[in-house]
């Protein structure tokens, strides 16, 4: 409309005619297209064949149940994680091929098999989607799934808003999939380097896809944060003071405070960039008085807190898993809460460490260096407290514990390299090298490890049967091997001076290390197979692996284990009253593991609604229209969004009541399925089991 765009533009179809102009000769795009069509087609065909569309719509797509929403978040995240891995594998194999001037090139590339622009698209989409569409949805999914259960709530504060958040995230993921073969993706890194993202240097639609994906998922995260914080503030079970809130919920609190305060800054940064690209303003241009370092500041003001946003819930997983499998309460519970909040707080003061080398003076750089290093203190406290949780414990090395321990060790390594980068004098020689890439993957792998630990840990809670233990261990060791082989050589390459985001490797001497990394990729690929097999086998043998008690691991500590596996849609037959930091452990210790309350009462529950998915549809369509600058569709979508929200405002019939007797009937049926002997003997393995100790969990 305002901007002078390269290429054709049509009032009806916007920039879409550009597609005809560009050559589609890239076999990768065809391959990706075939893969997605095949995968999506199979799902659609299966749903149609088994006549499951109605079920899908009623039970899942229109649900406001936080557990189902959580599970859908996690599924989206895992699928995107898989796609992200695919891209990582492409980067790694391409770089191993494109070494030295004499290296061969195929598929239109001078070296390797990816053209320069294509590989930049790939690392950009990899970074963007891994952080925002893989890891974030998985973590948000777990917070959805677990936090209300842990705090003894029937539901979220705003179930409707929760569904809106989910569908926004789903649309962002959808947009990311569309960008795979309709047009292109941004090439300017996940951070959107300005002025590279300006229209002069990125004239196509790639950056626009990136913009709208970030914008939508940022709004989704803000919405989710409002919901989770309000839930934790207002919906806790009676007796649960804030300090008694389980540690995972506390990390969720820290994370969402970060989200609530930092994502709006991303919204601003991206909105201003959008104006630059769509309207021709001069915020981040080099001319017209613009200042692109302002973008860098705004971006990292969000970007740094964002990395703690993703790591805190992972710390939460670890803090849940280690006590359970050490059969001991979390060491220094209060200190852990304090450390969590301190990490969240200090995360605000460190953003400049991402551009030490822009030329600020030593005073400024030192300030941010010290602030950055301060984060190491509470993080260290966490590491030590985890170790002391195991100290004098009885550590069982089941799969979740394996992942958690791996995570802790990764944290020490990644933290060490982070502390190195935080020293300006070192940063000046290591910035933008693959040493940095190895540092942050080391950190992200903490999250990946913790996530897989959490998946194994809460799977029996969510679905009522265990994941196969043996395949789980194989999965762990393969994944661990992959991580070692990819990222240890990467640290070394950093010292050798290899820069990040390379399409072509000018130094043949790096080739052996690059090949080692490919070995890592192969191990990763095997690990994915192991995971898929594990899920398949576990589902196949689900009857054999059924959970017979509420407490699947028999030594768990928090309230999510005080209801059935899987939890009914109303979570608890009656709201539990909390007496201790680790309520479930306390009950176990006092032989109070019954799930049967004295009586039941009427319960309010929200009704399913199609409004969130409709809203999501309009947002998704809006973004695609915006990417291709089809103004009239954008206009219609805005009207559609407003109309949908107004419609919702006029909806009165949004909840219903489960009468007490109906609740009792449902509960009785579920209680009958519990193996009562096992449920009661669960306490035997707890703290009480040890005869010489006359104590309780909280001496």
């Amino acid at each position: 409309m305002f901007m002078n765009l390269q290429g054709p533009w049509d009032p009806l179809f916007g920039r879409l005619p550009m597609l005809l102009d560009l050559q589609y000769n890239n076999p990768w795009i065809m391959f990706a297209f075939a893969l997605v069509v095949l995968g999506g087609g199979t799902v659609v065909a299966a749903l149609t064949y088994y006549k499951l569309w109605g079920w899908l719509w009623r039970d899942w797509l229109t649900t406001v149940d936080h557990k189902k929403i959580g599970i859908m978040y996690i599924i989206i995240g895992l699928v995107m994680l898989f796609r992200g891995f695919f891209e990582a594998a492409m980067i790694r194999t391409h770089q191993a091929m494109a070494v030295g001037p004499d290296s061969p090139g195929i598929l239109g590339a001078a070296h390797g098999y990816l053209t320069p622009f294509h590989i930049s698209e790939i690392f950009t989409v990899h970074g963007t989607l891994m952080i925002l569409l893989a890891v974030t949805p998985i973590l948000v999914g777990f917070m959805n799934l677990i936090v209300p259960l842990q705090i003894g709530a029937r539901d979220m504060a705003y179930p409707f808003l929760n569904a809106v958040g989910l569908w926004l995230t789903a649309m962002a993921a959808g947009l990311c999939m569309v960008s795979l073969f309709v047009g292109s993706f941004s090439h300017a890194g996940w951070v959107g380097l300005t002025p590279l993202t300006e229209l002069d240097h990125s004239p196509g639609v790639g950056v626009d896809y990136w913009i709208w994906i970030l914008q939508i998922s940022s709004i989704a995260s803000t919405v989710g944060a409002v919901n989770l914080i309000a839930t934790m503030l207002k919906m806790r079970a009676p007796g649960m003071s804030l300090m008694r809130m389980p540690i995972f919920s506390w990390t969720a609190m820290g994370t969402n405070i970060i989200a609530l305060t930092s994502f709006p800054l991303l919204t601003v940064a991206i909105a201003l960039l959008t104006l630059d690209r769509y309207v021709g303003t001069h915020f981040f241009t080099a001319d017209g008085g613009g200042n692109f370092m302002m973008y860098t500041n705004l971006f990292w003001l969000w970007g740094h807190p964002e990395v703690y946003f993703v790591v805190l819930p992972a710390f939460g997983f670890i803090s849940e898993i280690i006590p359970t499998f050490s059969e001991k309460p979390l060491f220094n519970h209060t200190s852990m809460i304090f450390a969590t909040m301190m990490i969240a707080g200090v995360s605000w003061l460190v953003w400049l460490h991402h551009f030490f080398i822009m030329g600020s003076g030593p005073q400024v750089n030192t300030f941010f260096s010290i602030a950055t290093m301060l984060v190491g203190i509470p993080t260290g406290v966490k590491v030590f407290n985890w170790a002391f949780t195991m100290f004098r414990g009885r550590v069982r090395l089941e799969t979740p514990m394996l992942w958690a321990l791996g995570s802790v060790l990764l944290l020490i390594g990644g933290g060490m390299t982070g502390m190195m980068l935080a020293i300006p004098a070192i940063n000046y020689v290591s910035h933008n090298s693959v040493f940095v890439v190895a540092h942050f993957h080391n950190m992200f792998l903490i999250i990946a490890f913790a996530i897989f630990g959490a998946v194994t840990y809460w799977w029996p809670k969510a679905f009522g049967f265990y994941l196969d233990e043996k395949l789980g261990k194989i999965f762990f060791w393969l994944f661990w091997g992959g991580s070692v082989f990819v990222f240890v050589p990467m640290y070394a390459l950093g010292f050798l001076g290899m820069t990040r985001r390379l399409d072509y490797i000018a130094h043949p001497s790096w080739w052996p290390l690059l090949m080692l990394e490919v070995v890592g990729i192969a191990l990763y690929a095997a690990s994915v197979a192991a995971f898929v097999l594990q899920v398949y086998v576990s589902i196949r043998d689900r009857e054999k692996n059924r959970v017979r008690t509420s407490d699947a691991w028999e030594t768990s500590r928090s309230l999510e284990w005080a209801t059935h596996c899987p939890p009914p849609f109303y979570n608890f037959g009656a709201t539990p009253i909390v007496h201790s930091n680790d309520e479930w452990a306390w009950r176990r210790e006092h032989r109070l593991t019954t799930l049967k309350p004295e009586n039941y009462s009427d319960t309010h529950m929200p009704k399913n609604t199609a409004v969130p998915i409709v809203l999501g549809f309009f947002v998704g369509l809006f973004s695609i229209a915006a990417v291709w600058r089809v103004w009239w569709v954008m206009g219609l979508c805005v009207i559609g969004m407003i109309a949908t929200l107004i419609f919702r405002a006029f909806q009165k019939d949004v909840d219903y009541v489960i009468p007490a007797d109906e609740m009792e009937a449902m509960e009785r049926e579920k209680l009958d399925q519990i193996d009562h002997r096992a449920q009661d003997s669960a306490q035997q393995t707890g703290e009480m089991g040890e005869p010489e100790i006359d104590g309780h969990a909280h001496g």
């Binding site: 390269q6 560009l22 890239n26 004499d102 090139g105 001078a110 622009f117 047009g183 292109s184 380097l193 002025p195 590279l196 002069d200 240097h201 990125s202 790639g206 080099a286 001319d287 059969e327 309460p329 551009f355 080398i357 030329g359 030593p362 030192t366 260096s369 406290v381 030590f384 407290n385 985890w386 002391f388 100290f391 414990g393 550590v395 020490i412 933290g415 502390m419 190195m420 020293i423 300006p424 004098a425 000046y428 910035h431 933008n432 261990k473 661990w480 240890v488 050589p489 070394a492 010292f495 001076g497 820069t499 130094h507 001497s509 790096w510 052996p512 080692l516 104590g695 909280h698 001496g699």
Partner: protein
Amino acid sequence: MKTTTIQRGIAALALAMLVLALAGCSGSPVQDPFWFLHPNGPIARASIFYLIVDVLLLLIVIVPATALVIWTFFRYRKGGKGRYDPTYNHSVIVEVVVWGVPLLLVVVLSYFSYQGARDVAPFNPQALKSAVAKSGNKKPLRIDVISTDWQWLFIYPDEGIAMSNRLVVPTGRKISMNLTSATVTNDFYVLKLVNQIYMMPGMRTKQHFFVERTGTYQGFSTEFSGPGFSWMNYKVLAVTPGKFEDWVQRARQSGNQMNWQDFEKFAQPTINTGDRWSLYSQVQPNLFSKLIHEVKAGDMNIVWPARLSENMTTHEFDRKFGTGSANSDKNGTTADHPSQSNSD
């Protein structure tokens, strides 16, 4: 069964480390030993010094922390030797130690962080002082560095000459650079020689360094700047002052000019110059500041074609921009090489 898997894992790790060590440090198995741990000059050395000091300091806490995690796990696994005591879940002493010791460490690190930041501050590095004094306080050599899409131009304003895609510097003399970029941000770095510094369009940054011994180095950009980024490699030749003078004299004889119109042509997108460089005997005196001015005024319009950034194949590049193949023409286009010296 459990321990064997762990043992196997550890063995694999050890093996990986070994391979790494061999690939990375065994003298120079390859043409170009590319460690950043071989500094030439006070700045690069200061960085490596702080690297080593800080790592050693960090290890004071990192090693015990790692040991603690691994030891508690082995000691207190179920059926192991450790005594089980679930009431041990709080300890003031532990609390004081785990908050206090890291805090102390951070205080110490902060001191080194500040010293380091001053020593290698790009605009005014303290680490250079003594070297400059020792070398007799010669007048610093000024170099204006410009990055374009995707080439380099090094201007020697006092000598009135310039060279593209190759940098020649004398030993034993402070070198002070002004840096800017024509279009997007790049990041100037010469491994082992010059620390990184952003080069930003419409802005000027500075960097200083001092070369002690002769040698050939690799310069490159570290901030991603578009499709040609991977090929922004150039050689940096550190030569003796005498040879440097010779080189300047020879450069003056080159017939090439670099005034604004030439520069505008030069700045057009070009991928992979394949180690081709040019000397310019005449350079418009205010080229550097004019560039900054033009960029700010929006007159430096280098718009990348959509095809380039959207669906590019390298072959297409060959056709459109006349570059592409790395082994096309390895020799300079005009004046000859400054005599090469041994690399370190």
